[in-house]
Structures are given as C-alpha cells and as structure tokens.
Subunit: 418 residues, 2 copies
C-alpha cells in the first residue's frame, strides 16, 4: 500500500508557507479579545476592498438553468469576452477571446502552461526572488524544474535580462533543455514595475534562445506607484517573439477575490492555445462563479471605479506601512505595485546564512507572533530579506510592525550592521 | 515552436464526444422556431430539476469577506462537514470529513486519485462498457492506461467480478503493473445497480491482487428502480479491503448541477488522503460555489425532498422513454439508475462492425439530427449499442426517439435481425 512516485514527490515538496498561514489564521490577534493572537502579514491577500465587493456579491444572482449546465470547460464565451475587453484596455492591444482560457485559479493556469510547454526534466528559467509557489505551480505536475537567476540587493533586486541571458546560456551549455522563462510582472515578492525597455530586452533573450516567455501578471491592476504598468503584450514591448509569449492573469489579486479561484491564461499561438484548452478540462471554473465574474466585469462603471479606488487604497496602505517600517528603522525596497514590502532584516542576522534567516523567521512567528515569509521561500540569493504584506487593516499592520520592531530591538543593537 | 510531448498526447487523445454535444447545443430543436434543429440525447445531464433548484440558487447569498478569501484548497471545513453527513446517510456508515476533498469536478477527482495511485505506464482495470471519459480523466494526466474487462449483451452487460479477476491475472502474467480497478456504481452507461454480493466479490478480487479499488458513485442518489443503491463503503459490502477503496462523488448528477464542477473524493487511508490533498491544490473549487453548496446541503429538508422528487422524476422519465422505444421496436437493457438507456441497434447494422456502428451514429446525427453516443465511446466489446439520455423535456425525448425510429425504418426492415 503506497502512493505513486509522482504523488510522493509532490507530497515531499509541498510548500510549507501554507502551514504558517493557517496557523496564524486559526488564532488571529484582536486588540481586546485576543491580544496575544497571531498577525498574519505573510499572505498576499487584499483585505482592503470588501466594502466595494459586498454589494456586488450580495446582489441577487439570476442564473438560468443554462448557467448551471455543462459549458465549455475552458470558460464560458460570455466571461471570456468581458475578460478580453478588460485585458485589451490594460494591454493597449486587442485581445482575442479565442486565445483565452479561464481555469480554477492562477495556480492551475501556471500548471497548465508549464505542462503544455515542458516535459519532465526540462527547465524553466526564473529571475529570483520569485513567487514562492512557482516551484509547485510550474513544476509539481509538469515535471519541469526551475533554474533561478539570482539578483542582488545592491541592484535593488531588479530584473536583469542580461543575467537571464547568461544563466540560460550556461544551462544550455550544460546540456539542460530550457523551455521557458517565467517572470512575475509586476514583480512578486519585490514589487517592481518593469520598464518597456527591460521587457523588450527580456523578450529578445527568449527569442534568441528559442524559448517561450510566461508573464504572470496577476498584479497588473494593482499598480499604485509613479510607473505605469506595461504588459508584456503592450505595443511598446511587442517583439518578434509574441507568438511564444503567454500571460497569466486572475481575479485573486486585482479583484481581491482569491477564494474564487479564477485564473486566466492567454496563449500566444493557436497550437499552444489548443493544448491549453485540452488541459483546462482538468481544472474548470464553476459556471456559477463565472456568472458572478461576468456580472462584475460587464458593469464597467463599477469595475473601473473599483480598480481606481483599490489602487488608491493600496497606495495609502503602502505609504502607511512604509512609514511604520522607517519608524522602526527597518529598511525596505521602494516599489510601485503589489500587496507587500520587501524588507531588509540582514542587519539583525547574527550570521549571513539561511539558517540564521530561518531562525529569525521562527522567532518572529513564535515570539512576536507575526507571520512573514523569508527570502528563502522566494529563492532569494541573499539571506535576511522578508516579504511583509500590508494590505489588511492598518491597525493590524501597525501592531505587526511594532511587534517585529520590539523583537529586533530586543535582539540587541549589536547585531545591527553586524 | 511546439508543445510538450505530454500535452501533444493529450491533444491527440482528446474525447470527440464533446464535439457532438456542442454541435447539437448550438442549433437546438424547437417545434415551431427550429423544427429541423438538433436533439441532444447524448449528454448525461439532468434537465428535469431546475424548478426545484432555482429558488435555492436565486436566494440572496450572504457571503462574508472570509468566504472570498484563501481557504483550504481541498475544500472548506463547513462544506466537507455537510458532505460527510450526506454521504454518511447514503453509505450507512460514518464518514469522516478528514477523508474527503472537494475539487473542481468529478473529472478532477478521478484525475487526482489516478495520479495518486499510478505512475505513467501503470494500468487500471475497468469493466466495460465504461464511462466514456475514463480514458481522459483517469489516464490523461496520470499517464496510466486502461485495461478493459469486456462484458456481453447475452449477460445484460452485468458486472462480473470473476471476469475482472481473469483480466487482472492475465495482465499481471503479461508483466503489466496494475494499480487499481475502477467501476461506476450505479453503472454508466448501462445503468445497473449492483448487489452487495457483487461488490463484495469485486473488493475481494482487488484485495487478492493487492490493487486499489475506485468506485465512481456520481449517480448514488439517482437510483429509481426496485433495487436500493449500495455503496462500496456500505457495511453490507465492507471488506478487508476498505483502506484501499476510494470513492468519487459530486453534485453534477445527483444535484443536477454539472456546471458547478463540484467533485468529491473519499480516500480510504491517511497516506492516500494526504497525497489527494496535495493534488487537490491544482484544481480547487470556488469558495463562492462552496458557500452555495453548503447552503443546499445544510437545508436538509430541502435536500431530502429534492433527492426524493428527483428520483420520482427520473423514474417517470425512464418509464416514458422506455415505452417510446418499445413503440419503435428498439430494445434496451432494463436498469434502475442514471440518466440514460442502453439501447440495442445491432439489428440495424448491415455488418456487426464498429465502422458500421460509427456510420449509423453519423447518420443518426446528420440525417435524424439526434445526438446519441455509440458503444465504441464506452469501450463496449459488441458493436451496435448506444446510450440514449432521457433526462430532458419529455416532448424532446419523444421527438428524438421518433426520429431515430423513422430513420431505422427507412434503413429497411431487411436489416432487422440481419
């Protein structure tokens, strides 16, 4: 009695960050009722928008019998159509709904595109630090593996196409079969918004090496800084490589609906599109939820004002959290998108090692009772960096940062710059 | 530029039956507006229950912010709890919610359990005719392959554990690694309800060979004949093999909600359960839909009366369709469950071949403009059998059967018994 080797591998490599999330959520802080409870700043969840969403989600849902029946498993025509319209505006280019699929989450979308492009053992190059779940989402079922491209704190962990090029060249020289480059854009965990030049250079690297490019743009509408978001499919970027460029989007981040598991994938060419539809069969999205999402996007007045107001709140939340961090003397990278801050705790590590980073993480979780994720979870090359999510009640964020500040102070100023 | 070998295989083996479904649905018959339109009797979809469902689906859905957030990806505790209660009543044994997962459809549940049990190239033994999508659902992503166990019309295509035993022994003698036996119970496409003795004998075959047993019980509550449904986990069946017995259920058939993609999997032991949860991560169900399904099952008064009334309607629909078939001189197998009738058109095949069966299918689709599925799609060993789904508007079913009757009559009485 035992499970298959493929399932055993997945169980063994299951991401641990989910555990800390559910631990923290099971015993949440409350100023009066549970002052010693956990503060979860580990999960990239936008909790600032519920008042905007509730009226829409509570509105009577006049589904018809047809809406509950078998539908195309890659998404209903109606939902794909309105998503195409939304992405057309965002990308500043016409999006054909025929190239889109909707699946049950951005995770499923990443799994689908990785499985369509890669056979087991083949590689995907990812600039690091990268989205912590890439390892599971891109590799878990496809059998692909990741090759990280390190970036450095002295450069602000910026995306460097030349570094991607070098890693790709080295990998191929070593006989690795590389099938794709995957980025998050805007970046997660760091939060950078990429310039068209950078994206164009990256697409050119992919083209020269003949590998596909996957751009995970789940934060496309969650940009609040001075730099405008530019999709990999924006006319300013569009390269000779667009047919091998694929985009992931979803409702989890930009519409603050992570429970609804609505992931979107745009395939760059008909062959990939056909294969993507075939795989979408295994992870379809409930037509009931598709009906709701269609209603949200069809009401363009609501959708536009939601996006604008959400941006405003993200900016305020980011500013407020940044200020608190500064008050505690905790440095962070200046960014313009996303739900988190990439904070620098290297000064409080007794040694510049990942075991010291992990010890600090555990101390922050167990002693300060704050959940934040360590750089190691994101494949960061330098120990001591953490991702702190700020998109929740600002009093919670303040308390969380204050707790971290007190813990760091107690570790002794001696460690600072140590 | 090409897709992976694993994706290519899936595209190549994609089931064709979906095409006929969407062809028929795109141009539907209406007595006045489209008298020459298609009648779709190919899809096992229950269209008899909408009036019972609509009030529940239209009721205000008071989701809270929590209901839209990240939740355990194998199902919310609340939904798993009420599903466990429903299945406890159905199975006549206590079901622990810890052993259940909810995923985005019964297809995903089958994919998950097959991937947990099998590595590529390993085999699953299935009594034939079997559910047409088993090939894709069980093998598409897991890499497993099916070994059918033929059954004969002279035996009414009944499930024969001794035949399963022989096929399993032969396969293992040939060096095949067999990991599981999979059945549909009640049977699909034929519609048999299995006796406890038969199920016990089957579990004993699985135990003796040391293979797992997967029972797809998506029609568990759609039994209307004289024989009571008995789950593989019913105390009358329970064998020494229960820890290696896994059950698939869902809301598509028994609650007539196929669009909602709510599949359920009950794992027989903790190791399989842990692996199943890990794989559920890739095909989660929208928490919004989970909220709805929880509301449906929590209202036990509604759920019980839905199940009872639905059974009554299925019985009426089955009786009416059987009578129409008899009027047209079309034989079928007497059954007590499911949405379809297994009809015998062997008498109208010019030759007893699958190419003649396919020619007849195409003629029924193109000339009579009725979609029904041929035995070949279900791995039936004898050509000439078709699955006709009757769980839709009875006037449609009558018109569909009448059209088939006219087409068969036009093919000449000479072919009858030919």
């Amino acid at each position: 009695m035992s499970v298959s080797r493929q399932a055993g591998r997945l169980v063994a490599s299951s991401p641990v960050i989910a555990d800390a999330h559910f631990l923290a959520e099971a015993d949440p802080y409350h100023p009066e009722r549970n002052p010693n409870g956990y503060i979860n700043l580990g999960t990239a969840e936008n909790r600032l928008a519920w008042d905007l969403l509730a009226p829409q989600l509570h509105a009577p849902r006049r589904v018809t019998a047809e809406d509950t029946r078998y539908a195309p498993l890659h998404g209903t025509a109606a939902l794909l159509e309105v998503i195409a319209r939304l992405l057309s505006r965002c990308w500043h280019t016409d999006v054909d709904p025929e190239h889109l699929v909707v699946v049950s989450g951005a995770t499923a979308a990443l799994d689908v595109i990785a499985s369509v492009l890669c056979d087991p053992g083949e590689a995907i190059v990812v600039p690091a630090p990268y989205y912590a779940a890439f390892e599971t989402d891109l590799c878990g079922r496809s059998g692909a593996c990741l090759i990280p491209v390190p970036s450095a704190s002295c450069d602000g962990f910026r995306l460097d196409p030349a570094a991607v090029d070098r890693v790709l060249s080295d990998a191929r020289r070593d006989g690795r079969v590389v099938r794709a480059i995957t980025i998050t854009s805007p970046g997660n965990p760091v939060g950078h918004v990429y310039a068209p030049d950078t994206l164009r250079a990256l697409a050119e690297v992919a083209r020269r090496h003949g590998v596909d490019l996957i751009s995970d743009e789940v934060y496309a509408h969650s940009v609040f800084g001075p730099d405008r978001f530019v999709s990999i499919r924006h006319p300013l970027v569009q390269s000779a490589h667009s047919s091998q460029t694929h985009v992931v989007w979803g409702f989890a981040k930009d519409f603050a609906l992570p429970g609804l598991k609505a992931g979107v994938l745009h395939a760059g060419n008909p062959e990939v599109s056909a294969a993507v539809r075939t795989l979408a069969y295994f992870a379809p999205l409930s037509t009931d939820t598709q009906f709701l999402l269609h209603a949200l996007l069809t009401d363009t007045g609501w959708a536009d004002s939601f996006i604008a107001e959400n941006r405003r709140r993200l900016r305020m939340s980011h500013t407020s959290a940044s200020r608190r961090l500064a008050e505690q003397g905790i440095p962070h990278i200046a960014v313009g998108a996303g739900f988190s801050l990439w904070i620098d705790l290297t000064g409080w590590l007794p040694t510049r090692t990942f075991s010291a980073e992990e010890a600090l993480r555990r101390s922050i979780l167990q002693d300060a009772r704050v959940n934040i994720l360590p750089g190691m979870a994101f494949g960061c090359a330098e120990p001591g960096w953490f991702r702190l999510c700020h998109t929740t009640d600002s009093a919670l964020v303040q308390e969380g940062i204050a707790r971290i500040g007190r813990l760091l102070a107690a570790r002794g100023e001696g460690n600072r710059n140590g």
